[in-house]
Amino acid sequence: MKDLVGLFPYWAVALLMMTGLYIVIAQGNLVKKLIGLGIFQVSVFVLYIAMGVVSGGTPPILETGFVTYSNPLPSVLILTAIVVGVATLAVGLALAVRIRESFGTVEEDELLPLTEPEAPADAEPHA
């Protein structure tokens, strides 16, 4: 049991991830789905960084007098992933704004009848 305590951070992060995933799937509001997605992604980043930690290590900036460093690779990967997350969020929000302008709502339940797949097309007024 002793070494299972060492895994505690990963389980806590797993909980955060699943809360984010729950929000994305369960919530009906489009903007809230995007925020849930944001939480899901940020907690994945915490998982990555938690993997690269070396106990007793310092941040990977080479200095005289320091020997053990934490792993720099997860930091590099996450720098990329953060900006990807914001990029997806920005496009998602832009879509939500356009949907609000065309359909008058951003609630999924109200959108379903309006977006009946078999109905004939009706173009929305040009933005």
């Binding site: 994305v24 496009v91 797949p117 004939p120 097309a121 009706d122 173009a123 040009h126």
Partner: protein, 494 residues
């Protein structure tokens, strides 16, 4: 180091860096022409790669001069080259009629930016196909996905439901991509490397459970991108409400690149062509594939829109590819690849024809196709060629691919799979007949005069239509390439 030696990186960087320039252009015409030129050049580069890997050699290109696994590596074997050719040739064909096809949907002011998004989508897809680094796959997956969301949303000019279709795909795509990242995290943490080949060598020594969980997350992420049945909900809306030209490009490439990734991961990272981690293709894929085959064809029959009908037919054909992959071993991979290429040609031709029809008649609904056979005979002919291909009538590419799957299934004693494929062919006869009925039998409100497709659509339609027939009559070369790839993947599993 001649320019051609850098083909592996240029095939991705060319569209990647010309897109921002095209986005800045003022005139939509110049941007349209530039997009086609870039796509055509890219196709030429891809063909160079194809020629170089035909003899089975594997090109390895170290980015930034750092040898793998320290730096990022591009590994191109015959499979990658064939897929790169598929993406770039489809892009060139679609770029030819893209400016004319999206004219009603996108204002001239926005068109240069849309063309840039199109090229970025091409760069993303090609980047995913040629890279040998797992995280690099994620980065280019994001580039192509973001560009795809934007391209689908551009359909809002004609039908506002393109916005909700794009949003749904964004949410599912983002969740899928995050699953892929989680999968990469687990594989990285137990092996310490991101290079796929290196990962393959080190994974067996690593902890089993983390490898299995990482594999299953990767599999779910990719399943979402290949629109596997429970996770397919984004595809019908995305293909139906996106501009017809965008749908043509997506139908020929998007889901197929994800299928390629599944094969690549199975062989390179998990060592056997039959499974990703604990998920054994032979047990998992056939059932899902058969469900997709039958349900996809059935749903196609009841669709009220031609593009939606073809979208469900795409899902059915994806099911066919999964079933083929599920047959296992070199035969399975070869069958899947033949299906992949043939379906891209058939469906590409049909969607290009639909683009021509929509351009002329403004809608792709079944009830608006009345009198098409008289008013647009050229389009109707190619629609029928595609339809024959979908059914699998002899002398068309569809026949070759379905025959291959059925024969391989019988050889392996999988009679259930063979029966499923034949049943789906029967259902496809029904939905192709619905197209015929909508175009010929239905009485148009007022008999219009002959007003065939805009000439710009003629070339791609003809090229793909003739391709459907050529691959049907002479299936040899494609089969030979596919078997050679399968042998290389399974034999000396690099």
């Amino acid at each position: 180091m001649s320019v051609l030696d850098h083909a592996p990186v240029l095939v991705v960087v060319l569209p990647l860096l010309t897109a921002p320039i095209i986005a800045l252009l003022r005139s939509a015409r110049v941007a349209g022409v530039a997009t086609f030129v870039v796509a055509a050049l890219d196709a030429a580069l891809a063909f160079v790669l194809f020629a170089r890997t035909l003899d089975g050699s594997v090109i390895s290109y170290a980015m930034g001069g750092w040898a793998p696994p320290i730096g990022i590596e591009y590994r191109i074997d015959l499979l990658s080259a064939v897929m790169a050719c598929l993406t770039s040739f489809s892009a060139a064909l679609v770029a030819w009629f893209l400016p004319v096809s999206i004219a009603p949907e996108v204002t001239p002011g926005d068109r240069p930016r849309l063309f840039a998004a199109f090229l970025l989508c091409l760069a993303g897809l090609t980047g995913m196909v040629v890279t040998g680094d797992l995280f690099n796959v994620f980065v280019f997956l994001e580039i192509s996905s973001l560009a795809t969301y934007v391209l689908i949303a551009a359909g809002a000019g004609r039908d506002r439901r393109a916005l909700t279709a794009a949003f749904d795909y964004l949410i599912l795509g983002a969740v899928g991509a995050t699953f892929v990242v989680i999968g990469i995290a687990f594989l990285y943490v137990v092996t310490g490397t991101l290079n796929m080949a290196d990962l393959g060598n080190r994974l067996p020594l690593a902890g089993k459970r983390a490898g299995v969980v990482g594999a299953s997350f990767l599999f779910v992420g990719l399943a979402l991108k290949t629109a596997m049945m429970p996770l397919h909900r984004w595809l019908p809306n995305a293909y139906t409400f996106a501009p017809a030209a965008v749908t043509t490009f997506l139908a020929m490439t998007a889901t197929k690149v994800a299928l390629y990734l599944m094969i690549r991961l199975a062989v390179l990272v998990f060592g056997t062509p039959d499974e990703i981690g604990r998920i054994n293709f032979a047990t998992v894929l056939p059932p899902i594939g058969l469900v997709m085959l039958i349900a996809g064809s059935a749903l196609a029959v009841v669709s009220a829109d031609l593009k939606r009908l073809l979208a469900f037919s795409s899902i059915a054909n994806l099911g066919l590819m999964l079933v083929a992959l599920g047959l296992g071993g070199a035969a399975g991979i070869a069958a899947a690849l033949v299906n992949l290429i043939n379906h891209a040609v058939i469906k590409g031709g049909m969607f290009a024809t639909v683009a021509g029809i929509v351009h002329r008649r403004g809608s792709s609904r079944m009830d608006s196709l009345a009198g098409l056979s008289r008013e647009m005979p050229f389009a109707f002919v190619f629609l029928m060629i595609g339809g024959m291909g979908l059914i699998g009538v002899p002398l068309t590419a569809g026949f070759v691919s379905k025959l291959l799957v059925v024969k391989t299934a019988f050889d392996l004693g999988q009679t259930m799979i063979a029966a499923g494929v034949l049943l789906s062919s029967l259902i496809s006869v029904v939905y192709v007949w619905r197209i015929v009925e909508a175009c010929m039998i239905a009485k148009p409100a007022k008999p219009g005069r002959r007003h065939d497709v805009h000439p710009i659509f003629a070339a791609p339609m003809a090229l793909l239509g003739v391709g459907t027939l050529a691959l049907g009559i002479e299936g040899g070369p494609l089969l030979d390439v596919a078997t050679r790839i399968a042998a290389a993947l399974t034999g000396g599993a690099s």
